[in-house]
Amino acid sequence: MAGHLGPASVAGAPATLVEMTDIDKSFPGVRALAKARFDLKPGEVHALMGENGAGKSTLMKILSGVYSRDAGTVLLNGEPVEITSPREAQALGVGIIHQELALMRDLTAAQNIFIGREPRRFGILDEGQLNRDAAAIFSSMNLKLEPTVKVETLTIAKQQMVEIAKALSYRSRVLIMDEPTAALNDAEIAELFVIINRLKADGVGVVYISHKMDEIKRISDRVTVMRDGEYVGTVPGADTPIETIISMMVGRTLSNEALVIPNTADAPIALEVKGLNRGREIRDVSFSVRKGEILGFAGLMGAGRTEVARTIFGADRRESGEIWVHGKRVGISSPKDAVEAGIGYLSEDRKHFGLATGLDVRNNIALASLDRFIGFGGVLDEAGMQREAVSYIGQLSIKTPSDTQEARLLSGGNQQKVVIAKWLLRDCDILIFDEPTRGIDVGAKSEIYKLLNALAAEGKAIIVISSELPEVLRLSHRIAVMCEGRLTGMLPGGASQEDIMRLATLRAPAMEVRHAG
């Protein structure tokens, strides 16, 4: 089968693996691609860049048989091909890691990886072999994961690793990675890059989509930039300055002004958490955030940051601990209580916990604030909702044909912006943002940073959980570091990456780091 790759196939490989030209694709109301172009050589990493909604995912879905194109040609090894289903794509040696995780939540990690290709003995599934094969892939990725764990119990990051493992297991000649690192932290990204380099050496062509600019420089051989569904240009990865790529993406140069971080040391405390406990995930976590302060949360995958946030927010039950808001103890047992106490929480998992995918953009933005729009007889003030939605669509430059577009039809990054808009509209005093810039393009990212900064300046207390250290460092007044459910340290905003990493891996059980504040 063509999908299998060996040294021989590298030797006989043509100069280009993939060549896509003049690709058009429209959805109702949206022209997603207009004469888009892309090519891929064996043994290279070709980054595909563009703002949210530029058409990157759509282009790659066409290559992998998910969508059919309206016009244009696709050549594989110089041969014209019609890829009309994911299965055909696989048979032709094209594999893809989708931006939106596509896992079967009720199956185990191993079962997910080998779906459709289960090892069998006498027609019966060989579960032992399946788990051994999965374990082998995990260990080649240096990933600690039990093959028999159900995917739904995994965090987004680990789910992402399962997706990567699955894609690797196909041993494709063309591997498309659509934002594989959006949910990963630095250590895991480094691990992924080792794998990518190994694939390169084997002659695999890798398409790499990411909004993390530093990764592009580190890993890509060439960079193709798209804008509004059109091809902008292709430049070498290593020697093109980031600024050039960004200006190709956004059509202008972005000013990267430093954020002013005001002193909040004397501001009153907005949120105080005392002795929070929940199973093994949260052990005796105490901290506080002042009005006008941005508190960053750093830690490795599974450190328990999301758990802390969810527990404060009342989404999960806490075993013990107190939560104080503006100096008053509040009893939070559900998200409703939290929101009423003025706390908002943006989940890291927008698909399951953030977006009501069937509703339109307007209603998603209004979802947390609907009570504000209820008028006489329970009738909703549609005009008011529309006004707010349109204003946030502009403010966050959400790319959507209108505020009545179904949210699920937006590109990943734009969906994320919708969820952010929901919490901005709610206007909480205390905002917990879990991976707020996941999948968001550079331009919009700096807009969001500015926004968070402005919110802090208004006197809101903000917690930002992020797996991107530069983001934490750039935004935070102070940084809380977690490891294995414990708060291992509280650092000032100007701390170094090394300080954070040291605390993030501090596993000593008897750790009693005292933190002021």
Binding site: S26, A71, T73, P335, V339, A368, I374
Partner: protein
């Protein structure tokens, strides 16, 4: 195939206006009506049309109630026996207690809402799946109807005018040429109200939101339980209206009737394009679905098709009607 362009049949062709689109939703219904009109001269008679509408009224109202619940991603198996229960309550109030008619009507509707409130509470607070909660309620209500009525019909002979609720025709008094029975007007009124609630009110918005992603709604700080219970209670109240309608039509509360009606109601909802997984649906679609069911039953009877074949043909046409609707949406 370099320049042979799009093999891919992805639609970006001419856009069809919203109004036309909405009209097309009726296509299955219209096709049926045309076919039956051609097949029998007796079909397209005012009286027969009124008979079809009248036959739709009870199932239509039940189906509207079911629509609300189904949009939240739930299901209500108890609509049929709850309807009977409400009719029995009306019977108890009017015949056994001899109270005035408005009280009987209000009692039936309140009983429906209260039962919906209980179902909703079991679902929202105890987290019992809707299928089980309403299956249990279906049995409980069925048994209670028999118990309360003493397993015998309660007649409304002492409440003159009670059967005018469904059978009289206010419209006919004004425009004698179209004596649309009140039952049908009540169906339309319920449909209008339900549509209004679904599209314009917070309850409606949460109905869709719950069906779309309940967890996301909860994490938006919404009191999910309260709204969910509200939807079930509203649906129960609407079922109460159906209870009054059927009691009025039969001039009696028949305690043994009702089971099996839930399937017709849910079928109307699904034929009308509402997804059982929740998050989308319309009252208009449900009305069309209920009409399709009645037109089919009426038309086949008018043609005197043997009953066993009626069943076969109904099965085929239900599948075809939904398939046609799927094709229509795909090509638009």
């Amino acid at each position: 195939m370099t320049d042979t362009a799009a093999p891919a049949v992805q639609k970006s062709g001419p856009r069809i206006s919203g109004a036309f689109h909405r009209l097309l939703a009726f296509s299955g219904l219209i096709a049926l009506v045309v076919a039956f009109s051609l097949a029998s001269p007796n079909f397209m008679q005012t009286q027969n049309i009124l008979a079809i509408l009248q036959a739709t009224s009870v199932n239509g109202v039940l189906a509207i109630a079911a629509t609300l619940v189904i949009i939240t991603g739930g299901i209500d198996l108890s609509v049929g026996t709850l309807m009977t229960f409400c009719a029995v309550i009306a019977g108890v109030i009017l015949t056994y207690l001899g109270l005035p008619m408005p009280l009987g009507i209000a009692g039936a509707i309140l009983a429906g809402a209260a039962s919906g409130l209980i179902s909703g509470t079991i679902i929202a607070k105890l987290k019992v799946p809707p299928f089980i909660a309403t299956l249990g309620m279906m049995l409980i209500l069925k048994g209670l109807s028999l118990v309360i009525s003493g397993t015998r019909p309660i007649y409304f002979n002492d409440t003159p005018g009670f059967n005018q609720i469904a059978l009289g025709s206010l419209v006919g008094q004004i425009i004698p040429a179209v004596p649309v029975p009140n039952g049908v007007m009540i169906l339309f009124a319920v449909a209008l109200i339900a549509s209004f609630v679904l599209s314009k009110t917070a309850l409606g918005r949460y109905t869709f939101a719950l069906g779309s992603n309940e967890e996301a709604v909860r994490l938006s700080g919404v009191n999910v339980d309260r709204w969910k219970i509200g939807v079930y209670a509203l649906a129960g109240g609407i079922v109460g209206v159906a209870g009054v309608l059927i009691a009025s039509r039969l001039n009696s509360a028949q305690p043994a009737l009702g089971q099996g009606y839930e399937l017709d109601a849910i079928a109307a909802v699904v034929i009308g394009g509402t997804s059982l997984s929740g998050g989308r649906g319309t009252v208009l679609g449900t009305l069309i679905g209920a009409l399709i069911i009645s037109v089919l039953a009426n038309g086949l009877r008018i043609l005197s098709v043997a009953q066993e074949w009626q069943t076969v043909v109904t099965g085929c046409i239900i599948i075809l009607a939904v398939y046609a609707d799927i094709l229509r949406r795909r090509t638009l």
